[in-house]
């Protein structure tokens, strides 16, 4: 099987960071905040690399959408002593991480400024569909959702645009020539489906345990190629049809109240209109 796999990787705020809402309520604070590859995208990359190691696919291409770095070269990660700055990874670093995990080359789709702020699943799926055709990919593997927007839409939309079958929430994937057996995690348990390639898969948590990028592989990744394209080159319009009106923190949890007797409890519940 000489399949080519496209893996989408998204740069998101790191899962360990405490999110803060911007004072103007237009979004969350991203400046100076640690970013990393979306955990489900890591799982997607790992699955693609595993398929390549089993010689079931011939090439893994990592794709990411985002701004180009200002000077056009990678930001050095040195931080001046005593300056309280968490390490910031720029978009190319997200692709480089995928390359260090074993992807063969990368594609950076340049989306900047306001377009990047409003970039969502619909635009990304149009981009991925266009790239899949351009790169003649037989398989697209994505994370099931991103941990910043939790949309869980890109995989499904991409499959629809391409009119390809989809195996979403995959917890196990077996490839046999051009057929994929996918075990999916659903509310009722596990569902097993068989779909024919070309197809779209989205990775769920238990699909695999992603490998760490080791220093030697990070060094090798620096030599792998990343090409840059613009959405316009792919015939995709990235303007958004959605407008974010307001972003707020969830309401503060109120302290509980202790009562002495059952009558007090009933009284308080009545007061609160609960009974």
């Amino acid at each position: 099987m000489s399949a080519r796999v496209l893996v989408g990787v998204k740069r998101v705020i790191d899962y360990a960071v405490k999110i803060r809402v911007k004072p103007d309520h237009t979004g969350v604070v991203t400046d100076g905040v640690k970013h990393s590859m979306n955990p489900f995208c890591e799982i997607a990359v790992e699955e693609a690399v595993k398929l390549k190691e089993k010689k079931l696919v011939k090439e893994v291409v990592a794709v990411s959408c985002g701004p180009q770095q200002a000077q056009g070269k990678e930001i050095d990660l040195q931080i001046i002593s005593n300056k309280r700055m968490t390490v910031g990874f720029i978009l190319q670093e997200t692709i480089r991480t995928a390359l260090a995990m074993g992807a063969d080359r990368g594609i950076h789709v340049e989306v900047s400024g306001k377009d990047y702020e409003t970039l969502g699943p619909l635009q990304v799926s149009k981009i991925l569909a266009a790239l899949a055709k351009k790169e003649e990919a037989n398989l697209i593997i994505l994370g099931k959702q991103a941990i910043d927007d939790d949309c869980n839409q890109t995989g499904q939309m991409t499959a629809a645009l391409l009119d390809w079958p989809q195996g979403t929430f995959a917890s196990e994937v077996t490839m046999d020539r051009d057929m994929l057996k996918v075990v999916r995690e659903i509310d009722g348990g596990l569902e097993t489906i068989k779909i024919k390639m070309p197809a779209v898969l989205t990775a769920d948590l238990r699909l695999n345990t992603p490998r760490y990028a080791t220093l030697p592989n990070i060094m090798k990744a620096k030599k792998k190629k990343i090409t840059t394209v613009k959405p316009g080159d792919l015939g995709v319009d990235v303007s958004s049809r959605l407008e974010v009106l307001n972003v707020e923190e969830p309401p503060q949890r109120l302290a509980g109240v202790k009562v002495e007797t059952v009558d007090d409890l009933v009284g308080k519940l009545k007061e609160a209109g609960k009974i």
Partner: protein
């Protein structure tokens, strides 16, 4: 709820005033006198009973730590630093009441220097937290005591772990510390911001604080040495007909120069407990768990040399794994040993001994210790970092059976003295804490104890820093 009276003057309002001045430094949320919070900060994972402080403060910066320390110093209040409460020697118990400084709000990873392989962390950063942070850089901090402990807490107890045989302990991996003394002075033990790989400059104050268990100062920053994540990891297991043959293999593997990353010994009792706890099926016999780190090419050589040595010593069922999942399962057994041991006798508590001897004497001490356990009818599965000559008996005991408690206590004293007789130490990695002060005296001798007391008196003349521990 009642607040136990702090050691301040007896004027009315004195306690309230101290608390008010704490709040002025940390804000209202930074001070707690709630009983549940105090109890939470008065115990760790040892068998020592909970000794809650009078108040817990939550500083957010080194400036706040210093401000709070100055107040405590003025009112002669004991200061007990608290990281994650995962210690094993009762180090956080507030024996004389006082103020617990919970450092968990200071949780930033600062100053990562990838090319120099060093990073500075605040006390709220835990070992696993740091490694998750570093995961895309190809670097990691390998000292692994099992628990997800605060790194500054690990520095305070000079922690070690399963990887020490290859990567060293905290002593070798802490390059610099920022410490707040009892009077609020902020000290940079190697000079502010300095992180050379080596230095000959002056007295080694950094290592003075490493292992001081909160008795000399509060660690508010640690600069740590990082290592490259190994390209390849292989785990192996091998069982042996006797303790002697397992330990002999360990000695020979090290002497052969194999750069083994972990070499863990579990005795038959421990293997049985792990099998039952994790549904595994290892042969119930003395067993070595090994881990090799390196390039994929060097793996073959390391594994084959090791396999040959184990075979020559009567080892069998040499099994190994390279994929992450199987390796994880092998090591889960070892890391869950604590819980697996306790599960042997539900309702009982577990206490871990912790002696360390020169490696050549390891067979002798383990064999003698096992005989002691059998003779005294004690449950004590053995797990150990045999590559360092360090092993733990996980004593499982019924705290309500006073006879058993007494027998366990006597056993641990005999074990410690056995180790001391063999040129070893009464504590390889857990620290002195509350329970080993007398043994420390026997170990280093009265003159060295006097020197330690002199240093303590210089840095903490009012004896406010974690009183009743170590010395």
């Amino acid at each position: 709820m009642a607040v136990r009276r702090l050691a301040v003057s007896h004027e009315t309002g004195a306690v309230e005033r101290v608390i008010a001045s704490f709040r002025a430094v940390t804000g209202d949320e930074g001070v707690s006198v709630g009983l549940a919070v105090r109890e939470q900060h008065g115990r760790d994972e040892s068998v020592h009973r909970c000794r809650p402080p009078d108040v817990v403060v939550f500083p957010r910066s080194v400036e706040e730590v210093s401000g709070l320390a100055k107040i405590c110093h003025h009112h002669r209040l004991p200061i007990i630093p608290f990281g994650t409460g995962t210690g094993l020697e009762g180090g956080v118990g507030a024996l004389k009441g006082g103020v617990c400084f919970s450092l968990r709000k200071m949780d930033q990873v600062l100053d990562l220097h990838q090319e120099d392989s060093d990073v500075t962390v605040e006390p709220g950063v835990t070992r696993k937290g740091l490694n998750a942070y570093l995961r895309d850089t190809g670097l990691w901090f390998p000292v692994d005591p099992g628990a997800d402990a605060s790194l500054c807490g690990m520095a305070a107890t000079s922690a070690s772990g399963t990887n020490a045989v290859r990567y060293g302990t905290m002593r070798e991996n802490v390059m610099n510390l920022e410490v707040v003394l009892a009077d609020g002075t902020v000290l940079h033990t190697a000079g502010k911001g300095r992180r050379p790989r080596k230095t000959s400059a002056g007295y080694n104050i950094t290592n003075l604080f490493v292992g001081s268990e909160g008795t000399l100062g509060i660690i508010t920053k640690a600069t740590l040495r990082l290592y490259g994540i190994p390209e390849s990891m292989v785990s192996a297991v091998c069982s042996f007909p006797s303790v002697q043959s397992a330990v002999d293999s360990t000695v020979q593997i090290l002497q052969a120069g194999v750069p083994i990353a972990r070499i863990e010994f579990l005795d038959d009792v421990m293997i049985n407990a792990c099998n039952r706890f994790n549904n595994l099926s290892y042969a119930v016999a003395p067993t070595l768990f090994l881990e090799f780190h390196g390039s994929s090419k060097s793996m073959e050589e390391q594994v084959s040399v090791t396999e040959e040595i184990t075979r020559e010593n009567g080892g069998s069922d040499f099994a190994w794994a390279e994929d992450e999942e199987t390796r994880g399962r092998l090591w889960k057994a070892r890391h869950d040993a604590w819980y697996a041991a306790q599960a042997l006798r539900p309702g009982c508590k577990a206490y871990s001994t912790d002696v360390c001897v020169p490696i050549s004497l390891l067979p002798q001490i383990i064999v003698e210790t096992k005989e002691d356990l059998i003779r005294n009818r004690l449950t004590g599965p053995i797990a150990g970092h045999v590559g360092d000559g360090n092993f733990h008996c996980l004593m499982v005991l019924d705290p309500n059976d006073l006879d058993e408690v007494q027998r366990v206590h006597a056993f641990t004293e005999r074990l410690a003295r056995r180790a001391l007789e063999m040129d070893g130490t009464c504590t390889g990695e857990h620290g002195v804490g509350l329970g080993k002060r007398d043994l420390l005296r026997e170990e280093v001798g009265p003159l060295t104890i006097e020197v330690m007391q002199g240093i303590k008196a210089t840095l903490d003349p009012k004896n406010l820093m974690n009183p009743g521990k170590v010395l």
